[in-house]
Symmetry: C2
Subunit: 203 residues, 2 copies
């Protein structure tokens, strides 16, 4: 499991920068500005929500980027739907995680390669929105350096929106974010009632 | 504001029926079955999540239906994106609510006309998923009869998924649902920081 961001100084710098950005925002409150959204918690709908925001941006004619930091055993409906649309750059992490300590280096390499793709999007203001699906999981397992991720998020173009999904959002990411929603389970068919995950809703 | 469902007997019947459905499900736990999902709570991402599920179902090649029970002053990105796609039937309530008691009858008539469209979808098994966006708001203000809505939801085809979004899901709907997620606000740029809603993410 993850420890806190390692460098208190970088954290302090980020928070100071955030304060300057906020003051600037308040000064020009009627202008457009990029928002960092985090969707976390154990309930259903985090990734779906990110993909809904993607659809909304596409509906306005904007260009969007997606990087999926987790790869299931099957191609998901989202991938089938979005990946070949115009205005969508869609990247799925090349290999799934091994989820064990035997091949941790491979997991780290896979996550870092995916982050390189994300970083290019986060430095390119032609992307109106960048969806970093299940990034929180990669952070949770320390597959990525938290400070690097936070710096890249903060340094993205001022009008670009970034959406991060996944359980266990680190508290430093929550601090940095503009909007954070926690999805709480009230009830879950899959868990409570032994119903298997349903294709076309959950997969 | 809404009172509870008016007919305890119908509630008891629904719950008894639900129990039979659950027993049947457990008996054939490896088969496909339709799920009733509710996305509620004050946090961001409820409608987005519903639209993400829509995209996922479309990605699998399924036919879907959408009824939006609230109409903003502007065309949303979701509507622009989804409404003309193949396999999508998209209906937006003809008129917005007046949100006041002066023209309550008009609000009720608008909501009921939209429910007629929803009901047709909920009786047609060619729809794999039906998204009832912001239905909870129409229930909250008693624009629709809760018992009628719950009965129609319960009587939909067994393989059809239904997704209901909006704050203030009534407790009877939560009881009937298979999966319920409550979106909790951890922080909100729009409210906390005076940042206006951003087109292409929130609109």
């Amino acid at each position: 499991m993850r420890e806190d961001a390692k460098t208190p100084q970088r954290h302090a710098e980020r928070m100071a920068k955030k304060q300057r950005i906020m003051q600037d925002r308040i000064a020009r409150a009627d202008k457009d500005q990029g928002v960092l959204l985090v969707l976390t918690g154990p309930g259903k709908g985090k990734s779906s929500s990110g993909f809904g925001m993607l659809a909304r941006a596409l509906g306005h004619g904007y260009k969007v980027g997606v990087v999926q930091f987790i790869k299931g055993a099957f191609s998901t409906g989202e991938e089938a739907f979005f990946r070949d649309l115009p205005n969508v750059d869609y990247h799925v992490m090349g290999e799934g995680y091994t989820w064990d300590t035997q091949d941790r280096e491979r997991d780290v390499a896979a996550a870092e390669a995916a982050w390189e793709v994300a970083r290019k999007m986060l430095r390119d203001d032609s992307y109106h929105l960048v969806l970093l699906d299940e990034l929180n999981i990669a952070l949770r397992y320390d597959y990525l350096d938290l400070d690097t991720v936070l710096d890249d998020l903060q340094n993205r173009p001022p009008l670009q929106h970034a959406v991060v999904t996944g359980r266990y959002a680190p508290k430093e990411l929550i601090e940095l974010a503009d909007t954070v929603t926690e999805m709480k389970i009230v009830k879950h068919a899959f868990k409570d009632q032994g119903i298997r995950a349903q294709k076309g809703v959950e997969l």
